[in-house]
Amino acid sequence: MSSEPHHQASLPRSRRRFTMVLLGAISGAIGGILGIPLGGFFGLPALRSREFAWAEAGPVDGFKVGEIRFVALMPLRRPVWPEEAPRMGAFVSRKADGTFEVFHNHCTHVGCPVNWNPAAQRFFSPCHGGVFDRSGRVLAGPPQRPLDRHEMKVEKGVLYAGEIYSVNERLERVGRYHS
C-alpha cells in the first residue's frame, strides 16, 4: 500500500480494521446461510442409505445343483424416476447342498464386469487379470477381497436378490455396502 498513500488516508487505520472485520463477518454469514443447505442438498441424498429393492433372479428349479449361471435381475416394481437405474446382473451359484449364493458382477478391484468360465470353474475379470473361485475367493490378480454378494431369499419357489454386501477372506459379511 506504500505506493498509494493517498488512498489509505481516506480511512483511519482503526476504522479500516473494524470495517474489514464487519465485511468478513457478513461474508461468513452469507456463506453459511447458503453453504450449509447447499452442501446438504448436494451430499445428503448420496449418503442416505436406502432400502434395496428386491429383484427376481428366477425360479429355484431353473438352477441346477453345482451350476453357476448369469442372470439379469428383474426388479419387482419398475424402478421409477428418480430411482431408475440400469438393470443389474448377478451370478447365481447353486451349491452341492442345494443352497444358493448370489454374486455381484463387479470385480472388487476396480469394478470391471466379471465373467464365469464353466470350463475353468473360475470367475475372470477382463481388466487386470483378477481370478476368483466358485465361492468368490480371490485366486490371483489384484483384487483384495472376494466378490461382493447379494442378500437373498426364496419365496414360493422363486429366488430373489437383495442388497449387496462385502465379505472378508473368511467369507463373513462386512458391514460396508459396496457396489
Partner: protein, 353 residues
Amino acid sequence: MSLGAWLDDRLGTRSLAAGFFYRRIPRAVGWPHTLGSATLFLLLVQTVTGIFLAFYYVPSVEHAYGSVQYITEQVPFGAYVRGLHRWSASLVVIFAVLHLVRVFFMGAYKYPRETSWVVGVLLLGIIFAFGFTGYLLPWDQKAYWATVVGTHIAEWAPGVGDVAARLLRGGPEVGIRTLGRFFAFHVLFLPTFLWLLVAVHLFMVIRQGIAPPPVGRLAVICPEEYRTRYEESKAEGASFLEHLTRDAEVALALLLIASWLALRYGAPLEEIADATTTTYVPRPEWYFYFLFELLWVFPGRWTVLPAFWIPVLGFLALLLLPFLDRGPARSPLRGPVASLAATAVLVGVLFLT
C-alpha cells in the same frame, strides 16, 4: 515475507486493491447507491442456487415435473433451495428495476456513462428472458400455458412472427424441444451473456467511478469540466470501503428476506402440464403481467401494439435513452419532460400490475 507482500512483488496486487477499496467516492453517495450491488448479489444467489438445482432437475417432458417434485419433497433442503431460487428471481426483477429508476432520476445515464446505461438495459432484458425461460422448466400448468401464450404472442411480430415462434418452441408446438431449448437458454446461453455483460458493466463503473448524485456543481453536465468537478466531489467523499459495508449489509438483509419468503411461502407447483384442460386460465408471472393486461387495452387488430410494438419500441427507447435525452440537466427537476414521461410509464405499469 507475508503472503500479501509476496503476491504484491509479483503482481502489484496491493496497489490494485488499494485503488479499488480505498479510493474515495463522490460525496452524497449513500443507500440508494446499493441497488446495483444488491442486484449483483441476487444474481449471484440465482447462479449458485440454479447450479445446484441442475444436479437433480431433468429437462424432459416425462421427468421435468417429477424431478421438481423430487427436489421439493425429498431432497434435504430442496424446498429451501428451490424457494430461494424462485423468490430471489422476483427480487432480482424488483431491484434491477429500482436500480434503473435510481440511475434515471439521478441522471447517471448522462455523460460520461451512456455506455453503462446501454449495457444495464441489455442486462435488464436478459433478466426478463431468464424469467420467461425459467418458469417453463417445472412443466406444470402455469409453465405450459404461460409458454403457449408467450410463444403465441411472438407470432404477432410482423413478418417474422411464425419463424420466431417456431425457433422459440423448437417446432410447431410447445413440447419436448421447447423444454430442451428453454433449459439450455436458461442455464447456459443467458448466464454466459449475463456474466459477460455484468463484467463489462462493472468494468465501466470501476473505470469511471461511481456516478455522483446530481447536486452542486455536478447537477449539470459539462463535459469539459466534468473530470475536475468529479475529482472535487471525490475529495470531499468517503472511502469506498465504507460504502462496501452498506452493500454487504443490504446483501445479508436480502438473503434473509429471500430465505424467509422461501421457508414461509416456498415455490408454487401447480398440477402437471395438461394440454387438454378446458378450464385453466393462463396468467403470466407478475413482472410480465402489465404486458398481459395491455392486451385488454388494445383489442382486436391493435393487438400487435401490446404484443410487439410497445415492448420492442419501449425497450429500444430505454436502451437509447442517453442519446434521446441529450439535455445537460441531470437533476430530474430540471429536465421535466423525460421525468414526467417516465413517471407516467411507471405509474401505468404499476397500475396494470
